[in-house]
Homo-oligomer: 125 residues x 2
Amino acid sequence: MLDMEQKLKIFKALSNETRFLIFKNVFTGGYTCSLDKKQPGVEVNPIATCVSTVAEHFNFSLPTISAHIKELKEAKIISVEKKGNKVYIEPNIETIREMAGCFQTLVTNFDNNRALFFDHTLALK
Amino acid sequence: MLDMEQKLKIFKALSNETRFLIFKNVFTGGYTCSLDKKQPGVEVNPIATCVSTVAEHFNFSLPTISAHIKELKEAKIISVEKKGNKVYIEPNIETIREMAGCFQTLVTNFDNNRALFFDHTLALK
DNA sequence: ATACTAATTAGCTAATTTGCCAATCTCTGC
DNA sequence: GCAGAGATTGGCAAATTAGCTAATTAGTAT
């Protein structure tokens, strides 16, 4: 279960357009597959990518993109793994699953409370 | 459907601890009911409250809380309605429902894609 | 060893955010 | 009309964020 501090980090990480777009592309496979032809034995999540590949999609410097990726990592939205020279980035789907659950719980409880207020029998159904 | 700009506003609004707590309390009924004894005919959502009631829960000035509430309103997380002297605040559950849907869609699509990659028949099920 | 690539760190500036107080506006009640 | 309560606006200071370049670290390849 995500505590408040963790949720705040997630919201902050996703509140910046650049980070949001990185997040979107990492989770939907928007970046080219990073399986490296020079390192055919390296096992990497097929939709993973690396910091400089991400940077190619933006008009920002590599250090800037690196810092954004660090923030996404600290929010546990992505995870990173250094293999050889590169840092591979992978989506951390469990965090997103938790967020989906949190919002859904809020909606469900809200609907139940509303039913409870206006029609007691409905809430018990 | 929420566009990216709207999502960014929502994430930004919820990335601040004070705004997050206001959000939480407005949606879970954490504030005292604001049905005004002096205005018994006024119809108000039972879990609505007003700006100064919210401010009582924080060690921040009223203008500061007012600004936070404005940001939550512009993100369409809450809606406000002026009745007489006061501004009543109500949860905007539809926005939260949309957020729940967005996250859930992302998770579902991710899981399907993963299944597609590793086992084609699974994805078709 | 040297050179090259990938990435991070450090130090800086500009812009944004978050708080405050004082002033103003709006509505209620006398 | 005037006083008072509720709320917003404007102007300011401090803190944070987001970008840059230059320097550094880590790994690869010659």
